[in-house]
Amino acid sequence: MGGTVQQRSVVRVGASLIVASLALTACGSRSGDGSGGGDGGSTKTAKIGVIAPLSGDLSALGLGIQHSVELAVKQANDSNAIPGWKLEVDAKDDEGKTEPGKNAATALASDKDVIGVVGTLNTSVSQQVQPVLAPKNIVQVSPANTGPGLTQGAKWQTDPQRPYKTYFRTCTTDAIQGPFAARYLFETAKITKVATIHDKKAYGQGLVGTFTEEFKKLGGQVVSAQTINPDDSNYQAVISAVKPAGPQAVYYGGEYPNAGPLSQQMKAAGLNVPLMGGDGIFDPKYITLAGKTADNDLATSVGAPVDSLESAKKFVADYNAQNYKEPYAAYGGYSYDAANAIINALKTSLKDAKDVESARAATVDALSKVSFDGVTGKVAFDEYGDTTSKVLTVYKVAAGKWATVETKDFESK
C-alpha cells in the first residue's frame, strides 16, 4: 500500500514540476507578432497574408520571407501609399509541408480582409494553396516557387496553359534554372559526366528533370540518377551507388537541410567532386551543414545577387535597420518585390473600393499589369503570371561563403 501512496505523490510532484516549468519558460518565449496596430477608425484595413515555413527545417528561408513582406508593408503604411487604407501582415506557418499549407490558405481565404498572399516557399505547397485562394479571387505572388507547372499547367513543355489566373511569381522557374545549371557545368566548367540526386519533392524532381534534359542535349552524360528521402540524414548507400560511375560533379535537386549533409558525406566517403544545386541550397545554412569540405560546391539562384544591385542596397539597409532576428535569406528581395507588386496593384484596385472583397477581382487585373523597378530588377508578369526577368546567377562556395561566379540573362536556344 505504501508503494501506491509514494507513487501518487511522485506523480503529483512530477506533474506540478512540469506545469511550473512550462509556465516559467512560457514567460521567456518570444511572441512572434508581426505588425498589428490599431487603426484610426476612418481608415479601412486590408491584409496581406504570408504562407511560408516559419518553423522546421526551412524556417531560415521562411522567416526571411515574412520579415521582407513586413518591411514592404510597413514602408507602404508609413508613406500612406494607399490613402484611406491601412495594410496588415498576417503570417501563417506551412512548415514547408502541404497539409499545413492548405490549412493556412483556408484560414486566409476565410478572412474577408485578406486581399493578397505572398508565398509559398515550396512548389508542392503552392499546388495545394492555389486552388484554395483562386475561387476567392485572392492574388498569390510567390517569391520562391520554381515549379513550371504552377503557371503553365502540367503539360508546360508541350501545351502551356495557365491553371489559375490569381497566381504570379517574382522568381524564374526550373524550366530555366535547371538548363542554366546544365549550361554552366558543360560549357563553362567543362564537365561531361554528372550524377543526379533528388529528394522526390516537386521542386527537386523538376529541377533534375530540366537539368538532365538540357545536359544530354548539350552532349553531356548523366552517369547515375538516384533519389533520397527528404527525412533521411544518412546517405552512404546512395553515395556508394553513385561513386563507381565516376561522375565529375553531382547535381542535386532539393533543399539545403539534405544537401549540406549530403555534400559533407560525399566528401568524407572520398567522392571529391563538387555538388551543384538550385536556389534551394543557396543559403548560408548550407555551408554550416556541409562543413569545411563545401568549398567549390555550386548553386544557381534566380536573379542577380541582391547585394550587387544598386536597387537592392536600399532594401538591405532598410532590412538591417529593422533589427529582425533572422536575415532576409535567399528570397528576401523576391518577397519584398512580391509584396510591393501587390501593393502597387492595390493602389489602383483599392482606391475607390468600399471593402476588400469587392476589390479582389480588380486586384488580379491590376497585378497582371504591374511594372516597376524592384530590388531584383524589373518586376512585371507575362501572360502566365511568370516574371519577365530571366536573369540567373551561379554561386560557388569559397572560404566558407557563397561567392558570385557569373550572372547571365538566360536565352532560349
Binding site: V11, L24, A60, I228, S233, A237, S240, P257, A268
Partner: protein, 438 residues
C-alpha cells in the same frame, strides 16, 4: 565485387547503430515486458547531450580527447532522461494493463521531441531544472540527516512537510533574490546561501509546527537546517553555472538540423581498402558495438546485478522473494539501455555530421524492428537483428533495381522483414518460444 563489400560495410555500420539502440528495447522488455517507444528519444537526447557538452566546454576544438568527455555528457543526458522517464511515467503504471504504459511511452516520446525542439535554444529553462534539483537534493540530504524512513508505508505528506518546506523556502528566497539582482558576486552569493538556509530552516520549522498534530515522526531541527542549506547551496551553484557557463554559449536552434562537431581521428578522410571506402566514423561505430557487446556480456553473466537481471526477467515475483530489489533492477535495465543509446547517438552524430530533434523516431522504429527480428528480450538477438537489418537495407539499395529499388525503398524492406518474421517466426531469430508471454 567491390560494390558488394562496400554495401556490406555500409550495412554493418548502419546495423551496429541499430543494434546499439535495439539493446535498450530488449533489456527493458526482458525485465518488465514493456516496449519503451520513447527509447528512440533517449538516443536523440544522447546526441544532444554530446553536442551540449561540446558547446559548453570545447567549442571550436577538434582534439580526439574530447570524444570520451562528449560520450560521458551524452550518457548523463540519456541516463537522466531514461531514469526520470521510468520514475514519472512507467513506475506508477507498473500494475496497470499493458496498454497504459504503451500509450504513455508514445506520449513521452512526443513530449521529449517537442521539448528539445522548443527549448534547446532557450538556456533560461535550465534555471527551472536547477530549482527543481535544489529542492530534490535538499530533501535527500535532509532525509539522510533525519535518519527516519520517509518511504515507510505509513508515511504521509505531513512527515515530509518540514523538509519540503525548508528546501522550498530556501529556493523561494533564492528566486526572489535573483529576480531582484541577477549578477553574480561572491558576497551576494554567500549571502543568498546563508540567508536562504536560515529562512528555509525557519519555514521548515514552522511547517513542522503546523503539521505536528498529524505527523508520524518529528523531523529533528538539524535535518531541517541541513535541508535548507543544501537547497540554497545547490540553487546558488546552479545560478553561477548558468550565468558563467550556460549563457556564454550561443545555442543553435534545434528547429533546424544542427551540425555535429567534427573530431580528429574519428571523422575526416575515409580509409581506402582495395576498392572499398571505410569511413572513420564507421570504424568508431562498429568498434563501439563490439566493446559494448563484450562489456554487456560480462555485466550480465559475471556480476551480481546482471545475474539479478536474469533472475527478474525469468520470474519477477520469485526473484523478489529471494531478496532481489526488483525496482532497482528495472532502473538498471533502463540505465543500461540509455548508456548504449547515448553511444549510438554520438556515433550517428559523427556519421551523419548533423543531428535534429526528429532523428530518434525512425531510428527507434528500426531498432525496435531489429529487436523483434532477433527475438525481443534476447540481448544477443538484438545485436544480431540490428546487423541483419542494416545489411538488408544496404543490399536492397544496391541490388533491387528499377521501380522498387534504390534508397527510396530501403525503409519498406525493413518493415517487410518485420512482418515476415512476425508471421513465420514470431519468436525471432534467436528468441526461444515462450508459451506464457506474447
Amino acid at each position: 565485387m567491390d560494390q558488394f563489400f562496400q554495401q556490406l560495410v555500409n550495412g554493418l555500420t548502419l546495423g551496429s547503430l541499430y543494434a546499439l539502440i535495439a539493446v535498450g528495447y530488449t533489456v527493458v522488455y526482458g525485465i518488465v515486458q514493456l516496449i519503451n517507444f520513447a527509447h528512440g528519444e533517449v538516443f536523440m537526447i544522447g546526441a544532444f547531450g554530446a553536442l551540449t557538452t561540446y558547446l559548453l566546454f570545447f567549442d571550436g576544438q577538434t582534439g580526439v580527447w574530447i570524444l570520451p568527455i562528449m560520450i560521458v555528457g551524452a550518457m548523463i543526458a540519456s541516463v537522466g532522461t531514461a531514469v526520470l522517464m521510468e520514475r514519472v511515467a512507467y513506475r506508477p503504471l507498473r500494475n496497470a494493463p499493458r496498454l497504459a504504459p504503451l500509450i504513455t511511452a508514445i506520449g513521452i516520446s512526443v513530449f521529449l521531441q517537442e521539448f528539445i525542439r522548443l527549448f534547446y535554444e532557450e538556456p533560461a529553462w535550465t534555471v527551472v531544472v536547477f530549482a527543481g534539483l535544489a529542492v530534490f537534493v535538499g530533501y535527500l540530504v535532509g532525509g539522510a540527516v533525519a535518519k527516519t524512513d520517509l518511504n515507510h508505508p505509513v508515511s504521509k505528506w505531513y512527515d515530509r512537510g518540514p523538509l519540503l518546506g525548508a528546501a522550498g523556502g530556501a529556493v523561494a528566497l533564492w528566486i526572489v533574490a535573483r529576480l531582484v539582482e541577477r549578477d553574480v558576486t561572491v558576497v551576494l552569493g554567500v549571502g543568498v546561501v546563508v540567508v536562504g538556509a536560515l529562512l528555509g530552516a525557519a519555514i521548515g520549522w514552522l511547517a513542522g509546527l503546523a503539521v505536528r498534530r498529524n505527523a508520524r515522526v518529528q523531523v529533528p531541527v538539524a535535518a531541517i537546517v541541513a535541508t535548507a542549506a543544501a537547497a540554497a547551496l545547490v540553487a546558488e551553484v546552479g545560478w553561477v553555472l548558468f550565468k558563467k557557463l550556460i549563457t556564454s554559449v550561443e545555442w543553435p536552434s534545434a528547429k533546424l538540423r544542427i551540425p555535429f562537431p567534427q573530431i580528429d581521428v574519428v571523422t575526416g578522410n575515409a580509409l581506402q581498402v582495395g576498392g572499398v571506402t571505410i569511413q572513420r566514423s564507421a570504424i568508431f561505430t562498429v568498434a563501439a558495438l563490439v566493446i559494448c557487446a563484450g562489456l554487456l556480456w560480462f555485466f550480465i553473466n559475471r556480476t551480481r546485478l546482471g545475474r539479478g537481471m536474469q533472475a527478474v526477467s525469468q520470474d519477477p515475483d520469485t526473484a523478489r522473494l529471494m531478496g532481489i530489489n526488483v525496482d532497482r533492477i528495472i532502473v538498471v535495465a533502463f540505465v543500461l539501455g540509455a548508456v548504449l543509446a547515448a553511444i549510438a547517438g554520438v556515433s550517428q552524430g559523427l556519421q551523419n555530421t548533423n543531428i535534429e530533434f526528429r532523428m530518434g523516431f525512425l531510428a527507434g522504429l528500426k531498432a525496435f524492428t531489429a529487436a523483434v527480428l532477433g527475438g525481443i528480450g534476447n540481448i544477443y538477438g538484438a545485436v544480431v537483428g540490428g546487423l541483419v537489418l542494416g545489411v538488408v537495407e544496404a543490399m536492397a539499395t544496391q541490388y533491387i533495381p528499377g521501380q522498387f529499388g534504390g534508397s527510396t525503398w530501403k525503409d519498406v524492406w525493413a518493415f517487410v522483414i518485420l512482418i515476415l518474421v512476425l508471421v513465420f517466426r514470431p519468436q525471432g531469430l534467436l528468441g526461444a518460444r515462450v508459451v506464457d508471454r506474447a
